[in-house]
């Protein structure tokens, strides 16, 4: 799955947060506010996007580990004609989503030994496109959600 580049000339909105757990709620708030204010998009899709962004931010913060206090997570928001694109970029050492262990089936008693690793499957289900790429800083997760057009009255 490859997320296409945003339309030329569309400048992203950026939000940079400290790579600490208490700031994930702020990222959720900003993303859901942007989506609901600027797009024709159903509430349950906003919830999906909010959860996907939250999972991506959580992974980004965990990539930093206990981390340096000055490490940051960068969110970028683009609006296309028929889609929203949000990227979440960390400065951690990165991870390879292809190398995640497969979980046993949920009916398997062994399944209870997996308290983590649910975030990436969630992201893959919640948004229409997802792309993990190494960046200069760390890892960049790009999320794309198809949605209705931007509200004309709100265009800059």
């Amino acid at each position: 799955m490859t997320a296409p580049e945003p339309a030329p000339g569309s400048d992203p909105i950026e939000l940079e947060i400290p790579a600490r757990a208490e700031f994930v709620a702020l990222a959720r708030l900003v993303v859901s506010s942007l989506a609901s204010a600027r797009r024709e998009i159903a509430d349950d899709r906003i919830d999906d996007l909010k959860l996907a962004v939250s999972e991506a931010c959580t992974n980004a913060i965990e990539a930093h580990g206990a981390g340096e206090v000055d490490e940051r997570v960068l969110l970028r928001w683009w609006e296309g004609d028929d889609r929203l694109r949000v990227s979440v970029e960390d400065q951690g050492s990165g991870f390879d989503p292809q190398r995640l262990r497969d979980h046993p089936p949920v009916t398997d008693p062994e399944r209870l030994n997996f308290e983590r690793g649910l975030g990436i499957p969630l992201i893959r289900t919640l948004v229409d496109e997802v792309d993990f790429t190494p960046s200069q800083r760390g890892t960049r997760v790009s999320l794309v959600m198809y949605c209705g057009p931007a509200e004309p009255d709100l265009e800059p």
């Binding site: 959720r28 349950d44 939250s54 308290e115 499957p121």
Partner: protein
């Protein structure tokens, strides 16, 4: 954003009502509370999610961990949830097959 955790006893069950957002920041408090309850000998726990505004994979992980801990004591952890947006997270991850999910605290504590 805040998370509040209220414990009540009902019909031999311990009901842990969760209000607020459960994410990477607040989930450790939920985990600590569950561990504390189990160590107090509370082995039939109902987690009431009706007041939860947001729940992500970190919260799911804590609930799975709680269930695992309780089963090792021959206990159980069941859920109360009717909110579609929260149920959806359990459905996507297949955890509706792992947890008993009830419509109300009354139903969860009836047995």
């Amino acid at each position: 954003m805040d998370l509040s955790l209220d414990v009540t006893e009902r019909n031999g069950y311990t009901v842990l009502a969760v209000h607020g957002e459960v994410d990477v920041y607040t989930a450790p408090r939920l985990r600590e509370r569950l561990v504390e309850l189990v160590s107090q000998g509370k082995h039939q726990i109902v987690v009431d999610l009706e007041g939860v505004d947001f729940l992500d994979s970190t919260g799911l992980g804590v609930l799975v961990g709680g269930l695992k801990r309780l089963r090792s004591h021959d206990g159980d952890l069941t859920l109360v949830c009717t909110q579609q947006r929260i149920l959806k997270v359990f459905e996507i991850t297949g955890l509706t097959k792992v947890f008993a999910i009830h419509d109300s605290v009354e139903a969860a504590t009836a047995g």
